[in-house]
């Protein structure tokens, strides 16, 4: 069936409105094109065409035949890569050619070479290699703006022009100065561009994680389709050794998945029917079928990429001064250079004045200031993303560095968030159960699990899970009844059993004295105790508790060593809360806190103007107000929910040690920023006066303009290099 498709694409190379008409005509004369419009202002073409008669390739050809270039089927990332590669290649050629010419000029200056020959060698360096400085200066000046290119263009042009005038007047020659400056600065730019490309590695790495195709099941057939064509609710087969194409839920089969690329969690995770899977993670063991739930922009990976690139674009409060300075830097340097010339001209004559003015123009480096913060933030935020630590913005990163108090939510954050069986205690000397202790425990669990099979209570899952782990089969139960608020009862092999709380035992006339001491002890440790009885005879007790995560105790220990005050906040009563906190080594507990009171409690711990920050660590779903009211909210996600708006930091794995890693990352990034700013400010504050000749009256030191060019190039490279060092740190 014929369909009219619409396509908009950029066109390169137009220089007037009639070019646009020409392209329009060429497009319209292509068979299949229904309508074509080309806008000179926006340099865009929009075409309506029949997709059975012609293809985008034909449109590209039509534009080409008119003498222009259409950009089709490329995204910005590809264009950026292409342009960067081209620029680097061009820069490389310029650096090589101008290096050879500069060396010849330098040698020529020392050996009294014919000045006209020097002029001949210096001219291509000045106007071919240095062309970009002139272009940038010109377009800037038309806009009454200046960049560092302005400084270089003015500095080298003055040296060059003075030397040209001197050719006939027999004056001093500065061809070597201008050529060496241009060469060194181009070399610096080349190295800087190469290094800078690595600061955004994290995003390219994340984008590279996404698989290109998915094996979609349509009817009886399985076909490989591009991942962009996968729709929500599509069934997809994922074979072992393949990446999961989009986010979804397993509908058939089970497997072990490596999610480390998204969550930073190194252990593979077992997943079965009904479990959520994340796109871009790796299927390690067996084939399964999943239903797509999120595709395109909504996937976890897409959200991570979005969050990371947003954070890398945000403003860091620490950079405010550097921002202000770099905005006015160039004009101020121009004024300083003029004053330097005047002062030296009046006191020591033209030669000193001229050389010092050029040195000032060349040594001033706003680039180092401009690069100091953004490069460190880009590397720091990217490093975090690799470890499953997502930072919302530069401000959150900066505040996290000042954390001195951390409040942990208990359930689901410090603990696993789901109850498990911790103790099974049979009554001593029961004759009809197995003689050995292990066997007696199995007997108790078997009865409890068989009864709980019909129950929907949250604690039932804990008992059933324990039975599954011990490979205990359930027995058939008849006369099952859930006794609201107390427990359950049921008949197994014609014997009536009761399983529930103390109230149920009392109502059924069961004497619990045999295990009274044990049960009180367990309850004091924050556990929930359930009694199992056959008719009126107590058989034993099963204790259930939400156990702390494996890494909880160690994390608290590390934080305490780092002099961070740790608090725990919980809805549990004081006794239970305290028992759990103590087992983890936490001294400060906020117990009996209702969910809607958490935010107030967090605010209560904040001390205004102290220079320190309070962090709240929660699971991000029901803790949103508390996360938002802390100075830094740290949300612990499960790797499937990254769009947590209220948190400054989102941890994609469940490992509590990531909290420590996040703090470490922020401290290291901030240190790098401080070093960079110190270096960039220090460099300009110290070397501009030196170049101006301030030390000359005392030490006789002056700065050669060529050396100034070297220092300038080295300063930006060192700042970028220092930021890249962050990649190597272990967090």
């Amino acid at each position: 069936m014929t369909q009219i498709a619409k396509l908009s694409f950029p066109v390169i190379g137009m220089h007037c409105a009639s070019c646009a008409r020409l392209i329009e005509r060429s497009l319209k004369s292509t068979s299949g094109v229904v309508n074509a419009q080309v806008n000179y202002g926006s340099e865009q073409a929009s075409v309506e065409y029949s997709n059975t008669v012609c293809s985008p390739k034909d449109l590209e050809k039509a534009v080409q035949s008119a003498g222009y270039k259409a950009i089709l089927g490329k995204d910005t990332q590809e264009l950026k890569e292409e342009e960067k590669t081209r620029q680097l290649q061009e820069l490389k050629i310029k650096v090589i050619v101008s290096s050879i010419l500069s060396i010849a000029i330098l040698l020529g200056s020392f050996t009294q070479m014919n000045p006209y020959l020097l002029w001949f060698l210096a001219t291509p360096v000045q106007f071919w290699a240095g062309r970009e400085f002139y272009l940038a200066t010109w377009s800037g000046l038309r806009n009454r703006a200046a960049s560092m290119d302005t400084l270089i263009a003015i500095g080298t042009s003055v040296a060059y022009l003075y030397s040209v005038i001197s050719l006939n007047a027999d004056g001093a020659m500065y061809f070597d100065t201008s050529a060496v400056i241009i060469t060194l600065i181009l070399l610096g730019r080349y190295l800087e561009a190469k290094a800078k490309a690595h600061t955004s590695d994290a995003i390219s790495k994340l984008l590279g994680l996404a698989p290109k195709t998915a094996r979609v099941i349509r009817g009886e057939k399985e076909t490989d389709v591009p991942v962009e064509e996968v729709k929500v609710d599509d069934l997809i087969r994922v074979r072992p050794g393949e990446k999961i194409p989009v986010d979804g839920v397993i509908t058939e089969g089970s497997s072990s998945l490596d999610e480390s690329m998204v969550t930073g969690e190194s252990m593979p995770v077992d997943k079965g029917q009904g479990d959520a899977v994340i796109g871009a993670t790796f299927n390690t063991s067996s084939s399964f079928v999943m239903r797509a739930t999120k595709v395109g922009r909504d996937t976890v990976l897409a959200q991570i990429v979005k969050m990371v690139s947003e954070a890398q674009s945000s403003r860091s409060p620490i950079a405010r001064l550097a921002d202000k300075v770099s905005g006015v830097f160039v004009p101020v340097v121009l004024m300083i250079a003029t004053s330097v010339f005047v002062v030296w001209y009046v006191t020591s004559g033209f030669s000193f004045a001229f050389s010092n003015m050029i040195a000032v123009l060349i040594i001033a480096c706003p680039c180092a200031l401009g690069l100091a913060t953004p490069t460190a933030i880009m590397v720091g935020v990217g490093k975090g993303a690799e470890k499953g630590i997502l930072i919302k913005d530069a401000e959150a990163l900066e505040i996290a560095n000042k954390i001195n108090t951390i409040i942990f939510d208990k359930t689901g954050t410090l603990t696993e968030g789901k109850p498990v069986v911790t103790d099974v205690t049979p009554v001593k000397n029961l004759k009809f159960l197995s003689r050995r202790q292990a066997g007696r425990i199995r007997n108790l669990l078997q009865i409890a699990a068989s009864l709980e099979k019909g129950s929907e209570h949250s604690l039932a899952e804990a008992v059933l899970e324990q039975a599954r782990k011990k490979e205990i089969n359930a027995l058939p139960v008849s006369d099952f009844k859930a006794l609201h608020g107390m427990g359950i009862r049921g008949s197994i092999e014609r014997k009536m059993y009761y399983f529930g709380n103390r109230k149920l035992m009392a109502e059924s006339g069961v004497d619990t004295r045999d295990l009274e001491k044990d049960s009180i002890g367990l309850e004091a440790r924050g556990k929930t105790v359930m009694f199992l009885a056959e008719k009126k005879k107590l058989l034993g007790i099963v204790a259930v508790a939400d156990v702390p995560k494996q890494s909880a105790k160690e994390t608290i220990n590390i934080l305490t060593k780092k002099r961070v005050a740790v608090w725990m906040i919980t809805g549990d009563n004081k006794r239970t809360g305290k028992a759990i906190a103590e087992s983890l080594g936490i001294k400060n507990v906020l117990a009996d806190v209702l969910p809607d009171q958490k935010a107030d409690k967090v605010r209560g711990l904040k001390v205004r103007g102290s220079g320190f920050a309070v962090a709240f660590v929660g699971d991000g779903i029901n803790d949103a107000p508390a996360l938002a009211s802390a100075d830094v909210g740290i949300a612990m996600g499960s790797g499937t929910d990254v769009a947590i708006e209220s948190a400054g930091v989102t941890l994609l794995n469940k490992d509590l040690k990531s909290v420590v890693s996040a703090i470490d990352l922020s401290r290291r990034t901030m240190n790098t920023i401080r070093q960079n700013l110190f270096w960039a400010f220090g460099y300009n504050v110290i070397l501009i006066p030196v170049a101006a000749g301030i030390l000359y009256p005392f030490t006789g030191w002056l700065l050669n303009p060529a050396l100034a060019a070297f220092a300038m190039a080295a300063s930006s490279i060192s700042v970028v290099g220092n930021s890249l060092r962050l990649k190597l740190t272990k967090i």
Binding site: A136, R142, S147, M148, S326, G327, P331, S339, V342
Partner: protein, 112 residues
């Protein structure tokens, strides 16, 4: 020479800092040309309304290849001669800067 020097300094000050630009009102969309800076560089937007700003870079200066709106957490790469759309929906009144990667070329968004 001193008088000439003072004159040059005065000119530099006037040329770069004495620039005053009236705000250009952007209705639903506005094209901003990126050439030695941003034209227009002062843009007036309405609160709570999405405006599409189309940036068209015509300057090969690599300083201008990246565009940053720090307050809106937007960073865009601007390929040469290719329009790039930036959608902005300011939630609060005020002045917001946008600039190149190294913060030497600047523009301003005024939300009134």
């Amino acid at each position: 020479m001193t008088v000439l020097g003072v004159g040059v300094i005065g000119f530099v000050y006037w040329f770069f800092f004495g620039k005053k630009e009236a705000a250009t009102v952007a209705a639903n969309k506005l094209t901003v040309t990126v050439e030695g800076g941003y034209k227009p560089s002062v843009i007036r937007l309405e609160k709570d309304k999405t405006t599409t700003l189309t940036f068209l870079r015509k300057d090969s200066n690599s300083c201008l290849e990246e565009l940053v709106f720090p307050d809106f957490k937007i960073k865009r790469y601007l390929p040469m001669n290719e329009p790039v759309n930036v959608e902005i929906n300011p939630k609060e009144r005020g002045k917001y800067e946008f600039h190149c990667a190294m913060n030497m070329f600047k523009g301003k968004i005024v939300v009134g």
